[in-house]
């Protein structure tokens, strides 16, 4: 067990390191000047440009830049943002992290509760009209562009019906002396539309995985045995069948993180949610390459960590898996 854990961790670390190297070269091999946007239409003297290059280390040879980059990453230093100079990329990311965690956590909880219930229901009523309709609905959800759905919901609930705030995380006009509860309620109201958009986009993945895993276990012999013993329907479905249909969802957890992160780039920027996704979108708009790199690094780290966690949980929880 300890040996497996060590080798799995080493493998995750190696994957991350290779991903970091790939990312650096992707960015630097792309033909384009990272300073083009910063300089923009302004008149910039050659000397000024040269000093900018020195400041961001762009005057170094590629290998030197690479060494500085890797050394920085190893120490948690991702360099300075170009658009927000001299604020560091790490500072910007840390400032935006809470909003993304709030949005992502909400969506995660809804996905893994509602998604499981719907998936199990569909598996139990496989082939029924309800199952077929839900399958069509999830297939349609796969085809939805998140930014479009966000805009439509923002228009419908925020502009047309004026039910919910369509942008930001707090009301700027809120009394600064307001208590904790009104503040929390204000954030919750702002959270509804972005969370709903992300849920609609991503929940279909959970539902489909749960449905097919559950269909497999429901036809297993031990489930028939449990039924023959006269156990209640609920006990058969949840205690016997679902226990084993739960493990594919652990794998899904690793797959699901990137879906959430890439989805939130669009959703956060549509709703001006002050999280990492809108930070990444902003960085793209400003051609702020250290910041783009910083967010991409974080995402790759989250993906590697997500698969690591799901593998470890799999081994820890599933007694059939021996290492």
């Amino acid at each position: 067990m300890v040996r497996w854990l060590a080798s799995r961790t080493a493998q995750a670390a190696a994957t991350f390191v290779v991903a970091v190297v790939l990312m650096f070269f992707l960015m630097r091999l792309s033909p384009g000047d990272p300073l083009a946007r910063l300089v923009g239409d302004r008149q910039v003297s050659a000397a000024e440009l040269a000093s900018l290059r020195t400041r961001f280390g762009l005057d170094q040879p590629l290998l030197g830049q690479f060494r500085a980059f890797v050394g920085g990453v190893a120490q948690g230093d991702l360099g300075a943002s170009i658009a927000y100079y001299p604020t560091s990329v790490s500072e910007l990311i840390v400032a935006r992290l809470p909003a993304t965690l709030l949005l992502g956590g909400t969506v995660l909880i809804i996905n893994f509760t509602v998604g499981i219930v719907i998936g199990v229901w569909q598996a139990r009523h496989r082939g029924s009209a309800g199952d077929r309709w839900l399958s069509i609905v999830s297939l349609t959800a796969f085809a939805l562009p998140s930014f479009w759905l966000g805009l439509i919901l923002a228009w419908l609930f925020g502009i047309h019906w004026r039910l919910l705030p369509a942008a930001g995380m707090t009301t700027p006009a809120l009394d600064p002396g307001a208590g904790l509860l009104p503040r929390a309620l204000d954030v919750a109201r702002h959270l509804v539309l972005p969370a709903a958009t992300l849920c609609i986009i991503t929940i279909a993945v959970t539902i489909r995985h749960q449905r097919s895993a559950m269909i497999e276990t429901l036809t297993a012999d031990y489930v028939r045995t449990a039924q023959a013993k006269g156990l209640s329907e609920r006990a058969v479905v949840w205690r016997h069948a679902w226990r084993n249909a739960m493990f594919p969802l652990l794998t899904l957890f690793g797959l699901w993180l990137p879906v959430l992160v890439t989805g939130s780039v669009f959703v956060e920027s549509v709703f001006n949610w002050p999280g990492l996704g809108s930070l990444a979108a902003e960085a793209i708009l400003n051609r702020d390459y250290p910041l783009v790199m910083g967010t991409a690094l974080l995402v790759a780290g989250a993906v590697v960590a997500g698969t690591w966690v799901s593998d470890v949980l799999h081994v820890a929880l599933d007694p059939r898996v021996r290492v």
Partner: protein, 281 residues
């Protein structure tokens, strides 16, 4: 328990979703090809001061903030979307098949190196790979854009083809071919590759829908090889964002076009999956 699919495409065709999806896709391709000949120039601005007009006779989908006909722009966008999706998927499927074949059949260090690289590449979501590549690449051409999308989509395909090849490698027909003196190249391309075609076709069809969403997303972020005034669905939605309050229809129709196209491609992909892999229907 396991029922084998009857041979020939009719089995996939019989899945009603696949039939509907294929019908819609054919219709979209036809509209994209002949439609522009019957519609106004998507870049034309008949009355720039008039601004956006709601859907109605004359402009079935209304006009956008620059008074351009939205129907013409949606149809023009279909051309771009389908072109990008088909070419990019063709590229990524080809590269994925070759890499997967090489890794699975040659084995050894080639396999180890290739699969380590693929694992690392899979750790970066495709959107972010493209963001890194395109963030500072301002004047990217459409061809380079298509190559970039195609070149970032083959990792999962190569893993799939590799596992299929590993499964097939020990099959009697491969051993028979080898004992008859077939060369390694002949075994790889004439015996192994054709037998992995099923999963490849399914991945390709589902990939088309995925790339259409991806291209729209990149255009929505203001990136990519489609430059105004050439219409692109994602860009149209981006341009509709500031006029959401006054002209909500400007963003509605390109989004619906994306949904219908992607859904149709996914329906065909699902039907093909049912056909090739009936156990996981």
């Amino acid at each position: 328990m396991i029922t084998l699919p009857s041979r020939g495409l009719p089995a996939a065709w019989r899945v009603s979703g696949g039939r509907i999806g294929a019908g819609i896709l054919i219709a979209i391709v036809l509209i994209a090809v002949v439609g522009p000949h019957f519609l106004p120039d998507p870049a034309a601005q008949p009355d720039i001061i008039a601004g956006p007009t709601p859907p109605g006779p004359g402009h079935l989908f209304g006009t956008d903030e620059l008074n351009r006909d939205i129907l013409a722009r949606v149809v023009g966008g279909a051309r771009i979307s389908l072109l990008v999706a088909l070419l990019a998927v063709a590229l990524s499927i080809t590269v994925g098949a070759v890499v997967g074949l090489a890794a699975g059949y040659m084995g050894g260090w080639i396999d180890i190196v290739l699969m380590r690289l693929v694992d690392a590449a899979l750790a970066i979501p495709r959107l972010f790979v493209l963001l890194l590549l395109l963030a500072v690449w301002e004047k990217i051409s459409l061809v380079a854009f298509i190559v970039a999308i195609g070149a970032t989509g083959w990792f999962a395909t190569s893993r799939l083809v590799r596992s299929e090849v590993l499964r097939l490698r020990g099959e009697p027909f491969v051993l028979a071919a080898r004992s008859l003196g077939a060369s390694r190249r002949r075994i790889a391309f004439r015996h192994l590759l054709p037998n992995t075609l099923g999963p490849i076709v399914v991945t390709a069809t589902l990939g088309v829908g995925h790339v259409i969403l991806l291209e729209a997303g990149l255009s929505f972020l203001g990136l990519g090889g489609v430059r105004p005034p050439t219409p692109s669905w994602g860009r149209m939605i981006l341009d509709a964002k500031p006029v959401l309050e006054t002209a909500p229809w400007a963003g509605l129709f390109p989004g619906l076009a994306i949904i219908v196209t992607v859904l149709a491609a996914n329906l065909v992909g699902e039907a093909l999956r049912t056909y090739f892999d009936p156990q996981h229907a």
